[in-house]
């Protein structure tokens, strides 16, 4: 029960005000989205009673009350959300594949040209890794367009390292590039949300990130928090080795 309703029950109310309170309590989730008229109709209470009720509770009117109810509902949800963040972090880090990470790290530490790529929200992860590695004095090049990356791969030196962040539908998009890198004797690291990616056979290291999707308008949205967390871990692993070497 939210605060407002709790407080209302302690007040001296007339019979019709009580009826209104009961209606509000039973339909609390819908109230922020209902007009005063609708509530008045549904609860069989006059709009005058509604206004009196709001004022008794200390609000200037129904609009004010509705707003506060909405805030308190969101807050109640928010408290659940707070522990959601910690749960999300723990979920992301509970089965960290240390072996794959160490493999990835050993490849990044090699003295080779490094291209980092991702598109859409994956580009954010790629950019985040790029900025951090650059700051840690590991030169690298960020490429957002896979066609540009493909064209660069055609004239690459042997041993050039590629890190690709990809989502689910990556095989068709990156098959040609992966084959080219393999053919040119480059090194390919894939960080993906796709389990058992078919691209894995072309890769020297693969990290499969746990998904943390949600649905909206029938769309499957992946906010990439898992991928960003793994990227941060890679950055920390690189920088702790880097800091050690520079002491």
């Amino acid at each position: 029960m939210i605060q407002i309703i709790e407080k209302a029950y302690t007040l001296q109310l007339t019979e019709s005000e009580r009826e209104l309170l009961t209606y509000l309590h039973e339909n609390i989730e819908s109230i922020p989205y209902m007009s005063a008229q609708k509530i008045s109709e549904n609860s069989f209470v006059s709009s005058a009673t509604m206004t009196r009720f709001c004022i008794k509770l200390g609000f200037s009117g129904f609009h004010d009350l509705k707003y506060q109810i909405k805030q308190q509902l969101l807050q109640a949800e928010g408290n659940a959300n707070k522990s959601n963040i910690i749960t999300l972090f723990n979920k992301t880090t509970e089965d960290v594949d240390v072996h794959s990470l160490e493999k990835i790290l050993s490849l990044i530490k090699c003295d080779s040209s490094l291209y980092i790529h991702g598109s859409g929200l994956n580009y954010i992860c790629a950019k985040y890794l790029h900025v951090n590695l650059t700051t840690a004095d590991r030169p690298c090049i960020l490429i957002g367009d896979r066609h540009v990356l493909y064209s660069l791969s055609e004239s690459m030196k042997e041993g050039t390292l590629f890190i690709i962040f990809s989502g689910d539908s990556s095989y068709d998009r990156y098959k040609k590039l992966a084959e080219k890198i393999h053919h040119m004797k480059g090194t390919l690291i894939l960080i993906t949300t796709k389990k058992d990616s078919r691209l894995a056979s072309y890769c020297d290291a693969v990290y499969c990130v746990k998904e943390d999707n949600f649905m909206f308008h029938d769309k499957d949205i992946n906010p990439r928090i898992g991928m960003l967390t793994i990227t941060q871990i890679i950055i920390e692993m690189y920088s702790s080795a880097y800091m050690l070497n520079n002491k």
Binding site: P32, G78, N79, N90, D137, F214, F216, H217, P223, Q232
Partner: protein, 262 residues
Amino acid sequence: MNDIRSIPVDNLNKSELKILDYIYTHVDDVHSMSVQEFANTVNFSPSSIIRFCKKIGFSGFAELKFSLKAPNERSEPPVVENTNINLILSDLSYDIDGTMRVLNEGDIAKAVDLLTTTQSIHLFDSSGLTGVIVDYVEKYLFTIGRQNVYKYDAEHQLKHVVEKLNQNDLLLMISASGNFGPAFEIVKTAKFHNVKVLSITPFQKNNIAALSDVSLRFFTYQRKNINTDFTSRLPIFYVVNDLLQTYVASLQESEVHHDTNN
């Protein structure tokens, strides 16, 4: 170095005692486990295990395992193989926990309200690591279909735009320090024109938070490489994700109710 069998148990809580008990009764098994495997076995997170090890006087899980060997078996120093990653996870977890503590209840709700009730959202793409977060916010908003999201990378350009905005518009400012000059100038201009300001700033008192309508705070350990900023932005990503998922949830709720009312 501590002997695992002589650890004072007075200030251990129930769960910690359970972990210790498991170790005492499964010495041989524990010896061959990684901290991951051990954590799974006793149903705690790896970072909790590391904290526990430190609490009882070991530098990490590796040292604890080493002390399980009988004295005459200890010929080599403990191997630090996974200590690195567990320290990392522990530090990251510390930032996230800290952020949860300084993130005000109700501020997410107020922030969602700003996102819902304002017409246009304006972002300042400052360079560097913070710019990556702004990029993330923009792409995330586009992905969920939010209209009228504008991003600018030039201070004077955004200032020029802000001067024409009003209380129906929102300036969403992200600042790792909360005091970044150009960002603060833009926020001042926005408030002068009654534009709503939602900021994400560090937990310490800062200028931008002071002027904002709502400021979501985060906690992170500052780190620099000579004169370049190197601080982890991970907690801010989590705050942004939480904000936008809550926003999406409130949009879905209002759609459901809109449908039932019609």
